[in-house]
Symmetry: C2
Subunit: 404 residues, 2 copies
């Protein structure tokens, strides 16, 4: 029977859905401003000491398979990082190295979800959370983070959602902190309340902290592990963002708790990791080295965060000057989620708008509906100011042309 | 609800299941002979020209994300390889780059399988084929390749299996050629019959050809694409084995046909690839370079195949000299699947046997039941002769000690 799977129809990624169109426009000689993919390495060269460690690993013959859960040096370095920064009592056994956080999300969803199972996803969300759930036949329960709360998680909304979902098989809840796509940073108090609610309702918590060092505008980041008090949970992190090494494809899952269920999840995810044998081996040595050189790293990341803060605020200000858009000032990551005043323009929805913007102006952003925020667009704010300015100017021009 | 998924309980990999035990034995100072994982890079250094291309990519700043389906240079090089070696009329559009063949198998299974769907798996099989099917809720239909047929696919057995499965939702059939774990190479005639049967029954064909250049003892390899005559199908390949770069995690899927369904499968698998954004970027440049340097490659691989043939035959001879074991002479890959005379020894099964062998003799092999061949063990025949000899001697000593 020549027929695709039903669940597989959920696969995909709105961030990349216009890549082919963008490539075809670019191949015709038109410049495309690509503000759709959160890739710091496209603007900030990956630090030399990390690249050198990668070169060294290759020259030393580290080209074969490595242990499915990650090389010991890297797992130890990750555990040490969390011991030092988050006062988390972790050792290498608590760590699973994955091919980017993407793979960690896939393995987590697959480990917990059978068809019909549910998970709580805070909205706006990173695109992969519902997708990875739905390809397993799972069903999301969305809990909204409101613009008036600056997109932070509101524990009351979580309580309400749980009340109306009583009796349902809710397997986990997932959010990113700092948030992709909103740039919000969840406060300690809110995080603490979420933990209590998860505990009362036997729900496993997934905190995606891949942007944990990219925090600014005075915000203070709190890791889930600092408030989790024994509640079954996992934290995701990796080399891609703070260590500016997206193309390495090295992420990780660290399990703060030693309860029976966290251990079961860890072992299950490791079984998925066994299936693909190994992550890229030399890249693991590179990331291990980067983590062990914390003094160089702290200097490097501090200077990158400063630039990111400047560019984020610059973009946010330009957006708020527009009569067509508005945006909450971000506190972390490198995205601006801009609300579009859809009343003023002639587009059916943000998908239509994003596609036309790419075709007419050569500006590639991501439609907000891909993150559960219809009527918005997500702009990556990593480019130099002149490019960001040009992009916003083009977007405004485009809106004027299509205004009602 | 703190509960793992039901389908996820199928995750895992028998090849790696004793890694922890082996590590713990090794950490106590005992030498472990590791003949369980098919990693040529552990014995043959990855060729310099490939490593140099990797170094060059890193030095040129190729550290960010790349296109989800793979960089154009690599897809073009893969298409060219198949045009040249297999007379396959392919262009980069037919190629999807994956994180090893493992990921290609995962994406393929997920693209086609809903719970209750079935797939035909030729047995003995590579461990991942049933696992990737079962984690999706799929159900395998096994078609046996018999020892008396030297483990080659017998089309009559396939016909019989299809007759008794009439009306079932059979989505695909999958086999490796050359075969892991048996080392058999499917003949052109048999391959051609399989294609006809698939065509008559509307079943998508998956031919895992990762060992396609590791063929010896006079055997001749035929790619599925040479006989597929428009039948919907996909071929898997990659850098790991013939290019001796397992730790890069670069594989690919190439679709020989241009029929509507092959195109649908390709697009669906690419949607899965979008979810994890990118494969390791610098490793893709390295593999592209390796593929474009075919004259160096052919020399390198020829000398490696010569060594592999010698070691495979050496192991096979030693196995057949044992009163406890026998093995068909392999024609490709680098495995010996040894039948154990279970009547002569005091073990419940091959799993029990393999574990005890590791504990008592420090020899790590893989239990045959992991490949659908209970009463067998799989030995990786890549190590130098003195190690292989030592391992077989230890295995024989172990059997004598446990003989009835």
């Amino acid at each position: 029977m020549l027929k695709l799977s039903k669940y597989g129809s959920y696969a995909g990624n709105p961030i990349e859905e216009e890549d082919k169109l963008a490539n075809s426009i670019a191949s015709k000689g038109k410049k495309v401003l690509r503000l759709h993919r959160g890739d710091p390495a496209a603007y900030f060269p990956t630090p030399k000491y990390i690249v050198n460690a990668y070169l060294h690993a290759l020259r030393s013959g580290k080209t074969g398979y490595s242990f499915h859960a990650g090389i010991t040096e890297l797992r130890e370095a990750i555990a040490k990082r969390h011991r030092r920064l988050r006062h988390l009592n972790a050792d290498p056994e608590n760590v699973l190295v994955t091919q980017g956080v993407s793979e960690a999300i896939m393995f987590l969803s697959a480990s917990l979800t059978d068809p019909g199972d549910m998970a709580i996803i805070f909205r706006p969300y990173y695109v992969l959370y519902p997708t990875c759930l739905e390809v397993e036949g799972g069903v999301p329960i969305y809990v909204d983070c409101k613009e008036e709360d600056r997109f932070r998680i509101n524990p009351d909304n979580l309580r309400k959602a749980l009340k109306s979902s009583r009796g349902k098989r809710i397997k986990f809840m997932i959010f990113s902190n700092p948030s992709n796509p909103t740039g919000s940073v969840t406060r300690k108090q809110e995080l603490s309340e979420i933990v209590d609610i998860a505990n009362d309702n036997d729900i496993f918590i997934v905190s995606d902290e891949i942007y944990d060092e990219l925090v600014f505008n005075g915000a203070k980041f709190t890791s889930l592990s600092e408030v989790s008090k024994g509640v079954p949970s996992v934290i995701f992190g990796g080399a891609s963002k703070g260590f500016d090494s997206t193309g390495f494809r090295i992420g990780y899952a660290i399990f703060p708790e030693t309860d029976r269920f966290s251990k079961e999840v860890r072992e299950r995810m490791a079984k998925y990791a066994q299936m693909r044998l190994s992550s890229n081996t030399p890249a693991q040595y590179a990331f291990a080295r980067a983590l062990n050189d914390m003094s160089i790293h702290q200097k490097t990341v501090a200077s990158m965060v400063k630039m990111i803060e400047k560019r984020a605020n610059f973009t946010s200000d330009l957006i708020n000057e527009s009569e067509f858009m508005s945006s909450a000032r971000p506190e972390g990551a490198f995205y601006a989620l801009a609300r579009i005043n859809m009343q003023k323009i002639r587009f059916k929805n943000d998908e239509d708008l994003s596609r036309r913007l790419l075709i007419e102006e050569g500006v590639q952003i991501t439609r907000g509906s891909g993150f559960g925020a219809p009527g918005h667009i997500r702009i990556v704010t990593l480019a130099p100011e002149n490019q960001l300015e040009l992009a916003i100017r083009k977007i405004n021009k485009f809106f004027v042309r299509h205004s009602k």
